[in-house]
């Protein structure tokens, strides 16, 4: 998975590209947590996530909880089909509470 970042009015937007699974989980966790602690708020664009699994959703949950603890705004946006499929199956749309806009499957 590659992560690219972008700044807009102090808010940072991270764009995740490629698979977001257990194979990448160690690196994803470290990098996303680090990004969160550096920024005052995060938007995470999931439209480039082509593969997503339980390890992936656990990291999103961890991030969400950590952002709340640090009192920083965190928004997931552009959920790709892979991400949505898991969110739907797990009935977790409400947990993230983000506006879910259907995007295309990946950009790769």
């Amino acid at each position: 998975m590659s992560i690219s970042s972008d700044f807009h009015d102090e808010r940072r937007t991270l764009s995740l590209e490629g698979p977001f699974t257990i194979y990448e989980a160690g690196a994803s966790k470290a990098r996303l947590l680090a990004a969160l602690s550096e920024a005052s708020g995060l938007d995470i664009d999931l439209s480039g996530v082509v593969e997503f699994d339980t390890a992936g959703i656990q990291i999103l949950l961890l991030l969400k909880r950590e952002a709340a603890r640090q009192e920083k705004p965190l928004v997931f946006l552009g959920h790709s089909r892979s991400v949505l499929a898991v969110l739907d199956l797990y009935n977790m749309g409400g947990v993230f509470g983000d506006p879910v806009v259907l995007s295309g499957e990946g950009r790769s």
Partner: protein, 738 residues
């Protein structure tokens, strides 16, 4: 490619494999070591592979036969079966038979059978006696037997599935996503809640571990039963928690579910309500039941839950619910329970016993060597051993609440049968006793309770006349007392009518018409075989069958029965059971060259035997104004040699009876590992077991209850008869003296 083409491949492949098998068979006898192993492997593979492929084509005759060959070869590989020319000959025939079976399949002919070969294979397989490997079986679901009267089942029409995935599932490539997708192929997931409370803080969260759980309402497709749903989770069942409750499950099932899951009642309860598994009202009932269970010591089978009864008191439910809510807040996670085979526990305790002995032996040699450093380190080692001993022994101990738990049901049912109104009160459920004892006490207690309800508690009419409340009370109570566990069965009924017991005893020929019995002995008559005082023979405990069995069972556990009964007020029956520990703290005494051990918790005090008592040649002394009967162990066990000038007396107590044991020397405390008596001592009364001392010598453990009984009856006999009997030996030996 179609299946016929693959069949052709199978026939070719089999030919090759059988050729390889033949080659291996020809060489195997002459070969040794790894070479021989490789030949065996080749033969095994041939049978194994043919079996696997034949299965795919559903050639069942070939599968069955090759399966036997495979098993035989597996045992040859593992060395369980020796390679003999007889065996090799048999395998040649098997190979040829496989070949002709496959040939028949190829030609579309009926597959030949070879009964004699089957029989020979079977014979060799039987020889090894290796039990067939257990097939993975679905663990039997404990059936919860609660009356399903429609009122106490949940309203939900759906299956409820609770999943807590094991922490390693993702690492093993088992993603919950796949299992849930597969599940939705078998029906419809109506509602799913994903639980992620187990997700740790970032530092502790291993991104490759799984922390999720699910609560699912599931609408099963046609023909999908519990086994089918269980099979969905077959590959994760070992390390995950999977609970499947059918539609309209009993509330008790949900009580158990909530108890089994780590989230705690309030969180999980809310989840269940949100998902539609329970209505809010049903949840309240579940929580109330659970609360009451914890209150009365729990540990009992849910099957015995009196759901119906408990639901009958809405105010109690409210109160319990409030309490529950308070407690949930600071109640940490339930302690986890690991089930261990009792025999492994026994093996552990045995080993700890050996450890104690070895420790004592080391201490002894260290003392002899006089090495202070060694002594000190052995001292701390000894403390550890002692703690291990206590821990190990406590593993066997279970709260008596395990038995008490079944009584609400027993009492309710019995009361209904008798048409009496009777309440049950329980106390001391946390009192612990040996697990093996718990199992054996249950039935006798049930009998005593039913007896108390039947014969003890009067009819409402009579109770009113006696100025008692209409509803009678039966209670069970347990507590520890001087090294034993006491279990009381009490009632507030009419008490025992001594005259009637006596009359019945005479009528049944249990006592002579003019025989004079003490109160205790008279009451004990009810335990005599064939005794019954009930005026009306009832279906319950009528014919007096059982009370004698109760007594026998209790005595078999080395327990005793005491009774207390006041006419018009009630009866208490006390069962006094030993703790039956495998290791005891003992007090070591010596008589001549023999060593005896007295369980320490029965020892009250030690004193010098007053010279005048010895001289008087009587068997009691006055201890602070009370008569204390005593037994000289020297005489009792016919120990050789003369008593020293000064002897000591050890005062022991069991229940409320005391006696003194006269010994030559007091040698101090020790830990004794109870071993059974050798055949030499079997049949000797007054001995409870033997133990090995640190020095390697054998010491005998005294059976204090028996000795006390002996001392007091001995003393009584002396009091009634004259001193003529002095000097007569107690005939304790049934075999020969050592």
């Amino acid at each position: 490619m179609n299946l016929d083409a693959v069949r052709l491949i199978f026939f070719e492949e089999s030919e090759e494999l059988l050729a390889a098998m033949e080659a291996a068979l020809l060489a195997v006898e002459a070969a040794t070591g790894p070479e021989q192993e490789e030949h065996l492997n080749a033969m095994f593979r041939a049978a194994h592979t043919i079996k696997g492929s034949a299965g795919l084509f559903e050639m069942n005759g070939i599968v069955a036969f090759t399966h036997r060959c495979e098993s035989l070869l597996d045992r040859m590989r593992s060395g369980e079966l020796e390679i003999t020319s007889e065996l090799v000959e048999l395998l040649f025939s098997c190979r040829d038979h496989m070949s002709s079976m496959i040939e028949a399949e190829r030609l579309g002919h009926p597959v030949p059978s070879a009964l004699s070969l089957d029989a020979q294979l079977e014979e060799f397989l039987q020889q090894t006696q290796q039990p067939s490997p257990p097939l993975p079986v679905v663990p039997p679901e404990e059936t919860v037997k609660v009356e399903s009267d429609g009122e106490h089942v949940v309203a939900s029409d759906y299956w409820h599935i609770s999943l807590r995935f094991g922490v390693d599932v993702l690492r093993n490539g088992m993603d919950p996503i796949s299992f849930l997708r597969y599940l939705s192929d078998l029906g419809r997931i109506v509602y799913i809640t994903t639980l992620y409370d187990g997700l740790p803080d970032p530092d502790d969260m291993d991104p490759e571990s799984c922390y999720l759980g699910f609560e699912i309402q599931f609408s099963a497709g046609p023909g999908v039963d519990k086994v089918a749903i269980e099979n969905v989770f077959e590959f994760v069942r070992d390390d995950s928690k999977v609970r499947i409750l059918p539609p309209h499950s009993h509330l008790a099932e949900f009580v158990r579910l909530i108890k089994d899951m780590p989230e705690g009642a309030s969180l999980l309860g809310e989840t269940l309500v949100r998902g539609g598994a329970l209505t809010a009202k049903e949840l309240e009932e579940v929580l109330a039941i659970q609360r009451e269970q914890t209150e009365i010591g729990e540990h009992r089978q849910l099957g015995e839950l009196l759901v119906e009864e408990r639901l009958a008191h809405p105010t109690a439910v409210e109160a319990a619910l409030d309490k529950q809510r308070e407690q949930v807040a600071h109640k940490t996670r339930e302690h986890r329970v690991v089930r261990v085979d009792a025999t492994r526990l026994d093996a552990l305790i045995d080993l700890v016993g050996e450890l104690v002995i070895a420790g004592a032996a080391s201490l002894l040699s260290a003392k002899q060597a006089g090495n202070p450093i060694l002594l000190e380190s052995l001292g701390s080692l000894g403390e550890l051993v002692e703690r291990i001993r206590d821990e190990a022994l406590s593993l066997r101990m279970v709260p008596v609440g395990e038995i008490f738990g079944r009584f609400p049901r027993v009492v309710r049912d019995t009361a209904r049968e008798l048409g009496k109104e009777i309440q049950l009160e329980l106390a001391g459920e946390e009192t612990e006793l040996d697990k093996s004892m718990v199992d054996k006490l249950s039935d006798p207690l049930v009998h005593l309770v039913r007896n108390a309800m039947d014969h003890g508690i009067e009819t409402a009419e009579l109770r009113r006349k006696r100025g008692k409340s209409d509803s009678g009370t039966v209670w069970l109570n347990a507590y520890h007392e001087s090294g034993s566990v006491v279990i009381e069965v009490g009632d507030d009924g009419g008490g025992m009518n001594r005259d009637r017991i006596r009359a019945r005893g005479i009528e049944r020929g249990l006592i002579g018409a003019d025989e004079i019995l003490g109160d205790q002995a008279l009451l004990q008559l009810i335990f005599a075989p064939g005794f019954s005082t009930a005026e009306a023979v009832t279906s319950l405990s009528g014919r007096g069958v059982g009370m004698d069995v109760v007594k026998r069972n209790i005595e078999a556990l080395k327990g005793t029965i005491e009774m207390e009964s006041v006419v018009g007020e009630g009866t208490i029956i006390r069962l006094r059971m030993p703790l039956t520990l495998a290791i005891i703290d003992g007090f070591q005494v010596a008589v001549g060259t023999s060593t005896f051990v007295i369980p320490l918790d029965m020892v009250l005090e030690c004193l010098d035997l007053p010279v005048e008592v010895m001289a008087a040649n009587r068997n009691f002394l006055s201890l602070r104004g009370e008569v204390l009967p005593f037994l000289p162990l020297r005489r009792l066990f016919e120990v050789e040699g003369r008593a020293p000038g000064r002897q000591a007396i050890v005062v022991v107590q069991y229940g409320n009876q005391r006696a003194g044991l006269v010994v030559d020397r007091l040698e101090g405390e020790l830990q004794a590992v109870i071993k059974p008596l050798g055949h030499l001592f079997r049949g000797v009364k007054g001995l409870a077991g033997s133990t090995i001392l640190g020095s390697g010598a054998v010491a005998l453990i005294l059976d204090v209850p028996d000795l006390i009984l002996r001392a007091s009856s001995d003393e009584r006999r002396r009091m009634v008869s004259s001193s003529l009997q002095e000097g007569k030996r107690l005939g304790v030996w049934e075999g020969n003296a050592p």
